[in-house]
């Protein structure tokens, strides 16, 4: 509550001084524990801002809405640490100018929502470095444990079952701050690499390609997983990719605005144990 009040005041200050044209935050949603994105442009809207442990969606994707930042005015945004990492990636991939972004950082991992020190993405580099130092937790998730225990055939059967439910609504893509392409590969039909039909084959292809495109870029915000209307555990796939690039290339997505994309760079000493 303290953080919420503090940030409401700060938002009003910034609006009053014309330092930002808009702040993207959260407001009460349609049920008690739902929070929905809010675009604050006035004091009245600022009073609607809510900040509590239910504010989990990563709002960073809204920043790359076409035209939003093209007037070079600043925009504020409420972000958890993963969200700040997505800002770094978007900056590293030239999708936005980080100087235009005023960050209201917060952390919901404790009991109380905690404000994070800093307003510009680079202010949080120490925090992000410390997150990198903490090895990505070997998930205690029972389902992931089950997947890891399976043999390849069983894993295939598991994912076949999961993907068979996919309806290709592309909520995973649309919810993802990293999926900013003007034209998604699946919408490119000359040639049609990915079958657009939502049969299991097409769904496999879609999910494989999406996961690959997010390798080294996914910050694990969970937007895709939560958005999936058919509850495919997408988080596991992306987390596995994050684990792979971390272990193989010491790459932790979103540490800085100048971080090189892991798959557009290389090291001559990269592991090649799998190559015959």
């Amino acid at each position: 509550m303290i953080t919420q009040e503090k940030y409401r005041t700060r938002v009003k200050e910034l609006l009053a001084s014309n330092s930002v044209k808009m702040v993207i935050g959260y407001k009460q949603g349609s049920t008690a524990d739902r929070r929905r994105p809010l675009f604050v442009r006035s004091f009245e809207e600022a009073d609607e801002l809510v900040l509590d442990s239910n504010c989990i969606g990563n709002l960073a994707g809204y920043l790359v809405t076409e035209g939003l930042l093209s007037d070079e005015k600043r925009v504020g945004i409420f972000l958890r640490p993963e969200g700040i990492r997505s800002i770094n990636i978007l900056a590293a991939e030239s999708q936005l100018n980080p100087e235009q972004i005023i960050i209201f950082g917060f952390d919901t991992s404790g009991r109380e929502v905690k404000a994070l020190q800093g307003e510009q993405a680079e202010d949080f580099s120490g925090l992000i470095d410390s997150l990198k130092e903490k090895p990505p937790e070997k998930s205690s998730d029972a389902l992931l444990y089950r997947i890891d225990q399976m043999n390849t055939e069983e894993r295939f059967a598991f994912w076949k079952d999961e993907f068979s439910r996919c309806i290709k609504c592309y909520a995973c893509r649309q919810a993802c701050p990293m999926c900013y392409c003007r034209r998604c590969i699946v919408d490119s039909n000359q040639p049609q690499w990915i079958n657009t039909s939502s049969h299991t084959l097409g769904n496999f292809e879609w999910n494989i390609v999406r996961a690959f495109h997010l390798a080294g870029r996914c910050v694990g915000c969970g937007n895709c997983d939560r958005a999936c209307p058919v509850n495919i555990p997408l988080r596991f796939i992306n987390a596995r990719m994050a684990q792979e690039v971390f272990e193989s290339f010491d790459h932790y997505a979103g540490t800085s605005q100048t971080q090189e994309p892991v798959l557009a760079s290389f090291n001559k000493d990269d592991s090649e144990t799998f190559i015959l």
Partner: protein
């Protein structure tokens, strides 16, 4: 006195229907998702949830349907049509909103072009709805001139008895009557008390909304931009909607042969109206959301005299950014016409 199907007879009913060559479907819940699926035993049903995550549309208009196989020869292309399946089916435990959704889409798929895939499946299916005794914050049938016990689209309507003892049977169509003949001897007469139907408060005044939508001046209202600002443009509302019916036709295959398929499509997608030239008449998400609302409550009723919404609330229930028809129409109902 009414005719009653007691819960403990349900297994027998299922066996009878199956024996009569009907495949029995109903709401089923798994660890991951609830939907309408084929069942074998009464215990397979999920009557507890307010309604399945996936709508009944899946059983009549699958997300992807093969229409024909083509084979490319040197000087000709051979084709082989895929007929829709003609299994006889009974869908037991449909929600009245889902059943109403079927009736809404009947008007479209049976309009100028008769969609054989839809019509064949509809003809082979008996819809047995159960009136709702539960609702959640998202249900909005009452705002759409429907109710938790609407019989639209159903062949049989069941009204639950108190304490889950069974259902009062109301046969509505010949098809329903015929299906229940097979189990007639399992029904009993009785006067057990009927459970009260769910209370679904009215959320907006539909007529006010429709009047606003029909006013041409409101087409360019800045309301559309405001209400849809947070829309991320996924298609999940349309895909879970029991009445959204847009589809695309795709050829998939290799050099030598392939399959022509009918796939769901969504007005939420930017690509939906994209021209080859690169021009997109619905260039913004707000234009796309406006289309969805206009289509459901203005254009569709203009053509078919019925709203293209049966009030199931799935669009709001699962929206990743907590939007939906309810919020939009609620706001519209407060605007000046």
């Amino acid at each position: 006195m009414t005719r009653i199907l007691f819960s403990d007879k349900l297994d027998n009913c299922i066996a009878r229907w199956r024996a009569a060559g009907l495949t029995v479907f109903g709401p089923v819940k798994t660890d991951t998702l609830s939907s309408y699926a084929a069942i074998e035993h009464a215990s397979d049903f999920d009557f507890e949830s307010v309604l399945p995550d996936r709508s009944i549309k899946d059983l009549f208009f699958p997300q992807t349907e093969p229409m024909l196989r083509y084979t490319i020869k040197k000087r000709a292309i051979d084709t082989e049509d895929f007929a829709p399946p003609n299994d006889k089916r009974i869908i037991f435990g449909a929600r009245p909103c889902d059943a109403s959704g079927l009736a809404i889409d009947d008007s479209l798929f049976g309009w100028d072009y008769k969609d054989e895939y839809w019509i064949q499946r509809r003809n082979e299916s008996v819809i047995v709805s159960i009136a709702c005794t539960k609702a959640d914050d998202f249900c909005l049938c009452s705002s759409l001139n429907l109710a938790p016990d609407s019989s639209t689209g159903s062949d049989v309507l069941l009204r639950p008895l108190e304490n889950n003892k069974g259902w009062v049977v109301e046969e509505l169509t010949d098809r329903g009557h015929e299906a229940f003949l097979a189990i007639a001897e399992l029904l009993q007469d009785g006067s057990d008390p009927i459970a009260p139907i769910a209370a679904v408060p009215e959320k907006f005044d539909l007529d006010t909304c429709v009047a606003w939508l029909q006013n041409h001046d409101n087409f360019e209202s800045k309301f559309w931009k405001e209400i849809s600002m947070r829309c991320i443009g996924c298609g999940s509302c349309t895909y879970l909607c029991p009445t959204c019916h847009c589809f695309d036709i795709q050829d998939e295959g290799d050099t030598y042969s392939g399959i022509r398929r009918k796939n769901w499509d969504s007005c939420s997608f930017a690509l939906f109206t994209m021209h080859t030239s690169g021009h997109n008449p619905r260039a913004t998400q707000s234009a796309r959301w406006r289309q969805r609302i206009m289509h459901k409550f203005n254009y569709f009723p203009g053509k078919f005299n019925v709203n293209s919404c049966s009030g199931c609330g799935r669009c709001s229930r699962q929206c990743p950014v907590d939007m939906g028809i309810t919020e939009t129409l609620q706001k519209i109902s407060t605007l000046q016409p």
